[in-house]
Point group: C2
Chain length 492, copies 2
């Protein structure tokens, strides 16, 4: 059951049984953020989608090496490769060292990812930290005859590559069509032989701050190069999964394939996975459209489009309620509905904790297990998985009212199953501070509340003392009355 | 007043008036962690000491660029430079990619620093991310005649350097004495001309995983090089402050000076600052001594030497109660006394918030301001500063009892002064979750408590309702009763 995972491979355009290159070990690379702005819903979606993949592989008992890069250099302004480095541009405007800008936004990215309960990747390599390796790969591509020099820059020769290997196999584009559609651009001043060629190394203009020495010029590596270099450096020349947003499929990932093949004669990636995009009230997100909402704005409710603040867990659940390959439209209504749904799920967990086992069982943990695993094994189908969990909550409520019964063994299995899926795999949290830990403040407040409750019970004020218990249970705090007073614990 | 900061400069061995190289801008570099183990009290002390320096410069209105490195490569096993890279060794033992080990411990370092309320540095460069720059500096030193090659490695020629520039000026050591004391080591197999010479580039043995290509060999940079390179890259060839633990003074910082001078003919650093070490019950900390307690063990109380858990803020206050240049001995008693002291201070803040202004004043905010600034301006004398704050708390308590009086203007100034010093400069936190924010859990619990209190008051249960108010105030939560019910706010 657990080994039946199928993944939709963008390369073959079909679902394939997942078989790792090395049994029990999974290597995955995901394109991370370009750190020149605050993280938004798009960053959250990609990170949460692949966090789910990471968590599920871990849950299945694999050793997973999850690499996600930080692009702190070399992301060019536009596809024509004539733009300047985005970060350096921002830095000059703000009169800051580019690395100071990159560090600031890297910190904010990490902070929001932590709040969203994404596990940190095993390795988070920086593009600026792998210049020699990028030079080495560009050198190999040039040596193999797939690159040409112009004015101190080195370009990948797509037409030449396409004579030997099919360029466009991931995106399904054909070079002839690309030539056609880009003919208009030819009028533009461009040192490239063909508009679809891309920079492996770009000579820095005199004012450009971020620069390194190379045999071609003092300059910086082309953006596409860093992912080919860092994925293979940490995962090997061939590895299991490469993920990223669908917007990166072309040209970024197409260029990655070409670079790997031009270097080693073989492709690096076994399964390509792409998450779909987010729209806002049906429109594409964009800074110029005024519908560009950062994650911090969601958490604080400070954007004019937001009716209220949405917690990181609400954002997470909202994203997981759609399949990662489906488009997802943000609206206040949708988020508020997710918030309610998530609370219903967590309330179900609450109830499940307090179910008393019966001698006979009309609920089968095994059947539920089959359903839940079938959903996630079907290319991580979280909407189906969550729909099953909602059905399970209905059964849990029937267990509470006595309309269904469950024996001890099934109850324990069901509790473990629920916890595995909701907390470990979907990565939701309930009843804890946003650090994911009991913190002192919370602990003290709960102790204070429970002491008051004790005093109330001593004074036979049962109504108020029960209210405290109930309200705490709603927050995921389980109270056990003991001989000496009480104990409590917080569930994850 | 505020411009009268004096800093003890290890180079001149006296306190000097601090004058930045560029008015209003401060550049500081601090040696960060080698990420091959969990952070301990020593890491906390260095980071908190320089966080205080950073915070104070920010408080004074400077633009501060604070650079602290991550040593993820090239920290050699021993001073003789014959050891292998510490991280690579650990990685091979654990069968992990070295960068996976480095990432794991970097994450844990960041997490503990956040819990200790240390502000993140402006730039946190990785040694592995600056290989070309390190090669370039080693090249310059070789070109200038201060290095020699042996078997693919490049060594700094200390004796040659000492003919032209004084080696040992920071640590006060003389080369002749060093020769004397290291004579015993000469018998050892070593390819260096002199035992005090140090590697700029080290050839990697065939099994060494972390390696880069250079003109000397496939290898890795010597440890001392990274700080010279990364400090000047981000702060300029000459910058204001270089900090680090006293254990790094020799040979690390001495070598940094030699490298800068050998490269540029001038020293890079204006003020050298060194924090003193931590002992445990009078003994040096060491893994072999069993007194090596990690920060996570402090926070959770899980080390056998600990009588209880100590919060990150208790650790912070404990460290700040000693002057950064004084030795500091850990004991349970000392930490518990710090905990009490900190609570007294925070209680004072609590009281100060609720003081009612009078028409006349017997307390002068200006006088307190002079005292507090005088203490911190005296080479960041936090023990004196904190002693003054304790005295101030005594006055605050007299204001409460009416033995002293204060007018509105002085009260407001005093509140700002207290908040500036305790929260902004010393970096303490009170009454917030460990994320530094109101979180939902805390908010809900407080609302629940206050609703119960409201009900109690309606039932004339004043004793219990007052207890709730008092206990919440102790936690830094200020309650205002309003017509409609209540409002509350949390102070930082």
């Amino acid at each position: 059951m657990k080994s039946e995972l199928e993944i939709f491979n963008t390369l073959t355009k079909r679902k394939e049984r997942f078989v790792p290159l090395v049994e029990g070990k999974v290597g995955m690379y995901v394109c991370g953020p370009t750190v020149y702005g605050d993280p938004h819903l798009g960053h959250a979606r990609s990170a949460i989608s692949f966090d789910l993949v990471y968590r599920y592989f871990l849950h299945l008992g694999n050793k997973v090496r999850y690499v996600r890069n930080i692009t702190d250099v070399g992301h060019l302004e536009n596809d024509e490769d004539t733009g300047e480095d985005k970060i350096a541009k921002k830095a000059r405007i703000e009169e800051l060292e580019p690395m100071e800008v990159a560090q600031y936004y890297t910190n904010r990215y990490h902070d929001t990812m932590r709040l969203l309960n994404n596990l940190p990747p095993s390795i988070e390599p920086h593009a600026s930290g792998h210049i020699p390796e990028q030079i080495a790969m560009a050198e190999a591509i040039e040596k193999n005859g797939f690159a040409y020099r112009v004015n101190g820059s080195l370009y990948f020769d797509v037409a030449k590559y396409n004579e030997k290997y099919p360029y466009g196999k991931l995106s399904g584009r054909k070079l002839e069509d690309l030539l056609q559609t880009t003919r208009d651009n030819l009028a533009k001043q461009d040192e490239k032989k063909n508009p679809f060629d891309f920079a492996l190394w770009k000579k820095a203009d005199p004012k450009h701050i971020m620069r390194w020495h190379s045999q071609w010029s003092d300059g910086f590596p082309g953006w596409h190069l860093e992912c080919s270099v860092m994925s293979t450096k940490y995962l090997g020349e061939r590895f299991d999964i490469h993920g990223g947003g669908m917007d990166l499929l072309f040209p970024h990932h197409e260029c990655e394939i070409a670079q790997s093949v031009a270097t080693n004669g073989t492709e690096a990636v076994h399964y390509w996975m792409h998450n779909n995009m987010i729209t806002v009230d049906g429109q594409k997100m964009g800074k110029s459209l005024g519908n560009f909402i950062t994650l911090y704005e969601f958490f604080s409710g400070t954007h004019p489009r937001l009716e209220k603040a949405y917690s990181p867990m609400t954002i997470r659940f909202f994203i997981l309620q759609a399949h990662y390959r489906s488009p997802l439209d943000f609206s206040n209504q949708a988020l508020q509905s997710s918030e309610k749904g998530m609370n219903r799920l967590l309330q179900g967990w609450e109830t499940l904790q307090n179910i008393q086992p019966a001698n006979q069982t009309t609920v089968s943990a095994e059947e539920w297990s089959e359903k839940l695993y079938a959903a996630i094994n079907d290319d991580f189908n979280t909407p189906v998985l969550i729909a099953h969990l909602f059905d399970l909550v209905k059964d849990i409520n029937k267990l509470k009212t006595g309309d269904l019964t469950i024996d001890k063994s099934n109850l324990e299995q069901l509790q473990k199953l629920f916890s595995d899926f909701v907390f470990d795999i979907l990565g939701l949290k309930a009843g804890v501070s946003e650090t994911g830990e009991k913190n002192n403040m919370t602990t003290d407040l709960i102790d204070l509340l429970l002491n008051i409750r004790k005093e109330m019970k001593a004074n036979k004020m049962y109504e108020l003392s029960d209210e405290i218990r109930n309200r705490l249970q709603e927050k995921g705090i389980v109270i056990k009355d003991t001989k000496d007073g009480f104990e409590w614990e917080m569930r994850k």
